[in-house]
């Protein structure tokens, strides 16, 4: 056991030393700044951030690419809390819960206090999530030893269907989203049989569609069409003030930090809730923040203050929101099952940098896993401090018109779409994916499901091929595979089960 601990400690140290390399630190800082800026822009969250950064990772050294993406991903929540608190315009949709109390505090002249409380709670929440990630890695590694091709096939299928179902309002639309993504992934050269599929004789489709073009189209272009056509999601509130002069702001910042310590119980509970929710695929930050907020209100001595400018509400929401990032990395890295939409695209980054998620990553590249954990932790701390310092100056970005934002991001997406295969064909793919993404978004399909289906489609196919070759159809009867497939069925029959539970609880209530 001590030897095992020494090995884990050494690998953690190796991961930390890799982060201390100047190139990694530089890209981590660049990522944090990008994350803060994108987080501040309303309507754009972690998912769009990773989608936008995806093309750059092709030309980068793996550690630098991971630092850039994770730095940005970690800083997005701090960036999002700035307009949520100062302008009542949540940078990311889920941070509407932060606005509930943050904005009334700003109106009372306590913007600095609310921001510093959000930042301090965010730092502690991030650390909570990263500690959960670090502690669970050895446990997950043990589990992974029991995972073979049949289980990987079932897990990949579960991941694709779960993210689809949990991020869509309807079961059929959710599953269809995932399956449509897998369908897209089958276009091109089949690595197993060497056959060309659905290419229509075109050489352009020989390698299938590019991950960049599909992801940037579905998320960035689709989102921009949506935001521009609605003409809103941009704050018209230009009154950015964190309250009082410099001295008053300093007092406010100190108060916010003191508040976070005073309500450390809320931070701990929020951190725990966030880490657990992050582990569950497709649950997202809103659920974590809501649970944490509701629990804090229940336990507070002043529950009546919640929603009217209670610092406890800000602390509870932000600690949970930040803790979920660390939690969501566990299923993503270990099994390729993303905790949310952003993690679905992050899987694409892992493939690009040559670290595909799954047993191989956890066994052979554990130092990279710890490197990612350290990146999240450091980015969480630096992002929160930096965010608090620049908040009053950059919050005005939230008032940027969609008329400026849309062409910029569309142009950026078009440039990024052709980075990987360097073909002008990518321009048509990204535009097509953008139109499809916008349309399917209106019809409540899961874009994250499509993306993950597209990314994991080849994995599903390869693992099915290996399983059938090695075990025949009996591979479905392996105990762990059966358990995972039972989870898939549970997911599919969720509406019937929910109805049964509702009926039973109604009957017991009547009794």
């Amino acid at each position: 056991m001590p030897e095992f601990l020494i090995e884990v400690g050494a690998t953690m140290g190796k991961g930390f030393l890799a982060l201390l390399e100047p190139l990694s630190l530089l890209f981590l800082l660049i990522g944090i700044i990008i994350g803060l800026i994108i987080g501040i822009l309303p309507g754009l969250g972690g998912t769009v951030t990773i989608a936008i950064l995806l093309p750059f990772t092709y030309a980068m050294e793996p550690n630098a690419a991971l630092a850039l993406v994770l730095g940005a991903f970690s800083a997005v929540s701090m960036g999002g809390s700035i307009p949520a608190i100062l302008l009542n315009t949540p940078g990311t949709g889920e941070q509407a819960i932060t606005s509930l109390d943050g904005y009334p505090m700003t109106k009372r002249g306590e913007g600095a206090r609310a921001l510093s409380a959000a930042a301090a709670a965010g730092v502690l929440g991030t650390l909570f999530g990263v500690v959960a990630l670090t502690l669970l890695i050895p446990v997950v590694r043990t589990i992974i030893l029991a995972v073979g091709a049949p289980e990987m096939f079932a897990l990949s299928l579960l991941g694709v269907l779960a993210i689809g179902v949990l991020t869509s309002e309807s079961v059929t639309r959710g599953i269809l989203s995932g399956l449509l993504g897998i369908m897209l992934s089958t276009i091109g050269y089949d690595a197993i049989t060497g056959a060309l599929r659905y290419t229509g004789g075109s050489l352009l489709l020989y390698d299938g569609f590019s991950i960049n073009a599909i992801t940037l189209g579905l998320f960035a272009v689709g989102e921009m069409i949506y935001i521009y056509s609605r003409g809103r999601s941009i704050s018209s509130n230009a009154g950015v003030s964190i309250g009082g002069g410099l001295a008053a702001q300093y007092v406010g910042i100190r108060k916010g930090i003191a508040d976070t310590w005073r309500y450390r119980g809320h931070v701990a509970r929020g951190g725990l809730i966030g880490s657990i929710v992050g582990l569950l695929p497709g649950m997202g930050g809103t659920v974590a923040m809501f649970f944490s907020y509701a629990t804090a209100k229940q336990r507070s001595k002043n529950p009546g203050e919640f929603g009217k400018g209670s610092v406890e509400g800000v602390i509870a929401a932000e600690s949970a929101n930040n803790a979920k990032e660390g939690g969501s990395l566990i299923p993503t890295l270990a099994f390729g099952i993303p905790g949310g939409s952003a993690m679905a695209i992050f899987i694409g980054v892992l493939y690009i940098v040559g670290l595909p998620p799954g047993p191989q990553l956890m066994n052979e590249h554990l130092d990279s896993v710890y490197y990612m954990a350290w990146s999240l932790a450091v980015a969480g701390i630096v992002g929160s401090v930096l965010g608090m310092i620049i908040a009053p100056y950059v919050a005005r970005l939230a008032t940027v018109s969609p008329g400026v934002l849309a062409p910029l991001l569309i142009a950026f997406a078009i440039g990024g779409a052709i980075v990987d295969d360097r073909l002008a064909f990518g321009i048509y793919v990204v535009i097509g994916a953008g139109l499809v993404g916008y349309w399917l978004r209106l019809l409540k399909y899961s874009l994250a499901g499509i993306t993950l289906g597209f990314l994991l489609g080849p994995v599903v196919e390869r693992q099915l091929f290996i399983s059938l070759s090695a075990y025949g159809p009996e591979f479905l009867l392996r105990p762990l595979t059966l358990v995972i497939l039972a989870l898939v069925l549970l997911l599919l029959f969720r509406p019937i089960l929910a109805r049964l539970f509702r009926r039973r609880s109604r009957v017991s209530l009547e009794v």
């Binding site: 309002e169 309807s170 019937i496």
Partner: protein
């Protein structure tokens, strides 16, 4: 252009537009799934297994989605009808004009890339879009400089992306 507030729009959202659009989309998915399944007939042994499974599942689910609104036991699977408030982009004249503008701009990009080459086309696109949207001159200049920096600085100089020079430049 003044940013409209959809909440104050005088035009009420069309109550059935997106529900009909949903049905049409599901119909398209059914056709695609059938074509996808037919495509597997040409594949050599083994290459069609996964496409047949996935295509079959998509076909069944799309049919369920299509008939779901009329069959009571399926309704809980297909979910609630689509939120019609989103249909306002098709019924409100101001929002519809914005939608047409942004969609039209997407169609212009490949043409610009063909004529000018992508490194020039992207800044031209951003400048043209912001000008048509009547953004302040400062915003037009800053956003054009920003995208020029990305287009030339990062894509051309840093990543050394190869570009077609554009049809117009070949005339000189």
């Amino acid at each position: 252009m003044v940013h409209p507030n959809p909440q104050r729009s005088a035009v009420a959202p069309d109550g059935t537009l997106l529900a009909r659009a949903d049905q049409v989309t599901t119909g398209v998915i059914i056709v695609v799934a059938v074509a996808y399944l037919l495509g597997t007939l040409e594949f050599p042994d083994g290459a069609g297994v996964v496409p047949q499974i996935i295509g079959g599942a998509v076909l069944v689910l799309a049919i369920v989605q299509f008939v779901g609104p009329w069959v009571a036991p399926l309704r809980r699977y297909v979910g609630e009808p689509i939120d019609d408030s989103e249909a306002i982009v098709f019924t409100d004249p101001i929002l519809r004009r914005r939608l047409i503008l942004v969609l039209g701009s997407l169609a212009v990009i490949p043409a610009l890339a063909f004529l000018l080459g992508l490194p020039v086309a992207l800044p031209v696109y951003v400048a043209a879009f912001t000008l048509v949207d009547r953004r302040p001159v400062v915003a037009v200049i800053i956003s054009t400089i920003l995208i020029s920096g990305v287009s030339v600085g990062i894509l051309v100089l840093l990543l050394e992306m190869p570009w077609d020079s554009g049809f117009i430049w070949t005339l000189f």
